[in-house]
């Protein structure tokens, strides 16, 4: 188990390394000079040269790559357009995304698990058809449009929820970058629309997964046995079926991190939620190579580690699975 984890970790390091090289090459091959963008319109040639010198843009590529990587690891790499270090930019935005993501996952699970279970228990009923159809609709709806519609309905037409932004947030433990907003009423109201929008796809996917998993469990012999020995249906479902049906659903949450990040990019941009998804779009449009690079590295590591954790959780939950 430890050997497997180590091997996977080494693999993650190599994959992420290759990705950073890929992203670096993309950054270097892109048209448009960041120094020119930073200097502004009508800047003197000397100023542009100065910026180039300062950012090391006139050095050979391997040197620049090393500057990026080492700068990220010792935390000294400066963002090109934010006048702060890259990590401080990313970490000032991260809590908002994590908050949004956690609420999104929670909403998705709270809605989708009961829906999926009921739809499997009452298979081929009106309820089942409704759930499966709505779930299929759910994976067909673009998150950003869903967010727009929620904003239109609850923000513009009904006027009961704020349309954009994060509202008031409170710094945790007095750390300025570690701000949470759901603890305040205003912040909580701001959180609802982006979280529900972000949850929409997860909701649909998890409902389908729960249904399939529950149907699979209900076909198992031990369920038949439990019924045959005269247990009440409620006991069969709660004690024998639910637990086994929900294990794959819960571990699958880890595999949906990718969809969640992609969804966060769109949802945060739509609802002006100041998280790392919006930071990505911003940094790209500002041609801030350092932030784009750091963010790509961060997302890749995060994404890969969550996959690794899912695999390890599988082995932990199901003793039949061993990695060696």
């Amino acid at each position: 188990m430890i050997g497997y984890t180590l091997r996977r970790l080494i693999q993650v390091v190599f994959t992420v390394f290759a990705l950073t090289v890929l992203v670096f090459l993309m950054l270097k091959l892109m048209p448009g000079d960041p120094a020119v963008v930073m200097a502004g319109i009508g800047a003197e040639l000397e100023v542009i040269e100065g910026i180039r010198e300062e950012l090391g843009l006139n050095r050979p590529w391997p040197v620049q790559y090393w500057r990026f990587i080492s700068g990220l690891f010792n935390g000294r790499l400066q963002a090109m357009t934010y006048h702060r270090s890259v990590w401080s930019v990313i970490f000032s935005r991260l809590p908002a995304t994590i908050e949004l993501g956690i609420f999104g996952i929670l909403i998705a699970l709270v809605v989708s698990i009961p829906a999926g279970l009921l739809s499997a228990i009452y298979r081929n009923s009106v309820l089942d058809y409704t759930v499966t159809t709505v779930a299929l609709m759910g994976i067909s709806i673009p998150v950003f449009w869903f967010a727009l519609m929620l904003m239109l309905l609850f923000g513009v037409v009904l006027g009961i929820l704020p349309v954009s932004g994060r509202g008031t947030s409170i710094a945790l433990f007095g750390i300025q970058n570690l701000r949470v907003s759901f603890v305040t009423w205003d912040g909580f109201r701001h959180l609802i629309i982006p979280a529900v929008a972000l949850a929409s796809v997860q909701m649909a996917m998890n409902a389908r997964l729960t249904r399939a998993s529950m149907l699979e469990v209900l076909r198992q012999d031990y369920v038949t046995t439990a019924r045959a020995k005269g247990l009440k249906e409620r006991v069969v479902l709660v004690k024998h079926a639910f637990r086994n049906a929900l294990a794959p659903v819960v571990t699958n949450v880890g595999l949906q991190i990718g969809t969640l990040i992609a969804g966060a990019v769109l949802t945060e941009t739509t609802t002006a939620w100041p998280g790392i998804g919006r930071l990505m779009v911003e940094a790209i449009s500002r041609r801030d190579q350092a932030v784009v690079f750091g963010l790509a590295l961060f997302l890749a590591v995060f994404f890969q580690l969550s996959y690794l954790i899912v695999d390890l959780t599988y082995a932990y939950i199901d003793p039949r699975i061993t990695y060696d």
Binding site: M26, P142, W145, V156, T270
Partner: protein, 392 residues
């Protein structure tokens, strides 16, 4: 004449079918089939009617847009007419010879015919494709005041007309107009070309490239497999949308480069094909074929690909939907289809600014995305049930 059943195609049937496809079927008692033909005729007839009614004056005005749609209309009608003859002949023959086919595809087709979900998905997709092909016939085509001479139909979806700035839905503009006074319905209709075009081409590229890589990796194993899998891991180490956003955001570019970007980086099919190939290559019939010296390319074509085709079809259908959503998302962020080309995602981006004043700009393009993607998703879902009953 006796009531004896005629078991061959008669001149009368040919004549009736030539007169109106489906009539021959109706007379010979294949009324379900005749309904399909009548339905197709009604659809193409309506399309033609709209074309004639709206563009009477400019029918053959010599623009590529019209030519394409007119040619397609003619082709489709020709196909309906010719196919009616062949189909009637086939039906009568199989009726007389009592031929029933129990092959895999025949059974699959029968199962699919009973699956309402799949049929509905197919109908939605066919309608979307129909609208995309005949876009100039369906677009409103009303001329701008003050614009003299001939105006290409697509111009209604592109050109500014500030006199109609954000007009609410009305008879003249069923779905309203946007912040440049362009008709929203026209833009949605032309947007379907962009969405479907990019979605389909990108998916085909995914299938070709991903399928090829998966096939090579799965069949030859060893070093090539390891290299391919590492490439896939690197590409998959960051969410697809973020990767494509990076590429597009840093380079920008037009529709063609968008297709290429999605086509090259969406390599998901490779994994599916690879696992399929891995299981097939261990089977006894492949070993037998190898033993008698069948060349590798023939084994791949004859044994490996047919086994992978079912999952390929499902993946293709689903990923067209995914690609349409990704294109919409990229366009929404401003890195997809460049303006002024009408695209659903870009329309939503413009709509966001004016949500308080023009709700129709935000609602309808999104509905178009949802309906189209829903069509592909339910078709894919149904194909999965139908093609591989084991998975149910």
């Amino acid at each position: 004449m006796t009531k004896k059943r005629r078991l061959y195609l008669e001149p009368r049937d040919i004549l009736l079918s030539l007169l109106l496809p489906g009539l021959g079927h109706l007379v010979r008692g294949f009324w379900e089939k005749s309904l399909v033909f009548f339905g197709a005729l009604a659809l193409f007839g309506t399309t033609m009617g709209m074309a004639v009614a709206k563009h009477r004056l400019t029918w053959f005005a010599g623009t590529d847009d019209y030519w394409f749609s007119s040619l397609m209309l003619f082709l489709f009608l020709l196909i309906v007419w010719v196919f009616a003859q062949f189909d009637l002949n086939r039906n009568i023959k199989s009726q007389s010879a009592k031929q029933y086919s129990f092959g895999y595809w025949a059974l699959t087709a029968r199962r699919f015919g009973r699956d309402a979900k799949g049929i509905m998905g197919l109908l939605i997709i066919l309608l979307t494709v129909h609208v995309a092909i005949f876009a100039p016939f369906f677009s409103s085509g009303h001329n701008f005041e003050g614009v003299s001479g001939y105006v290409k139909p697509i111009q209604h979806a592109i050109k500014m007309n500030l006199r109609d700035f954000q007009a609410a839905p009305s008879g003249n503009h069923p779905l309203g107009t946007d912040n440049f006074g362009r008709d929203v319905l026209d833009r949605i209709i032309y947007g379907s070309r962009v969405a479907l075009g990019i979605g389909v081409v990108a998916t085909l590229l995914n299938m070709l490239l991903g399928g090829f890589l998966g096939l090579i990796g799965g069949y030859f194993r060893g070093t090539s497999d390891a290299v391919i899998m590492r490439i896939l891991e690197v590409i998959n180490s960051i969410p697809f949308l973020v990767l494509v956003l990076l590429v597009r955001g840093l380079w920008s570019g037009g529709v063609l480069s968008l297709m290429l970007t999605l086509g090259i980086f969406g390599l998901q099919p490779a994994r599916i094909i690879r696992s399929e190939v891995l299981s097939v290559r261990e089977s006894d019939y492949v070993s037998a074929a190898k033993a008698i010296g069948v060349p590798t390319w023939r084994i791949i074509l004859k044994y490996v690909l047919p086994n992978a085709i079912a999952s390929l079809m499902v993946v293709t259908t689903m990923s067209i939907g995914v690609n349409i959503i990704v294109v919409a998302g990229l366009s929404f962020l401003g890195y997809g289809v460049p303006p002024p080309t009408p695209s659903w995602g870009a329309m939503l981006q413009e709509a966001q600014e004016y949500m308080r004043t023009a709700w129709w700009m935000a609602v309808y393009p999104g509905l178009a995305i949802v309906i189209t993607v829903f069509g592909f998703n339910i078709l894919g879902d149904s194909l999965r049930d139908v093609l591989d009953p084991r998975l149910k």
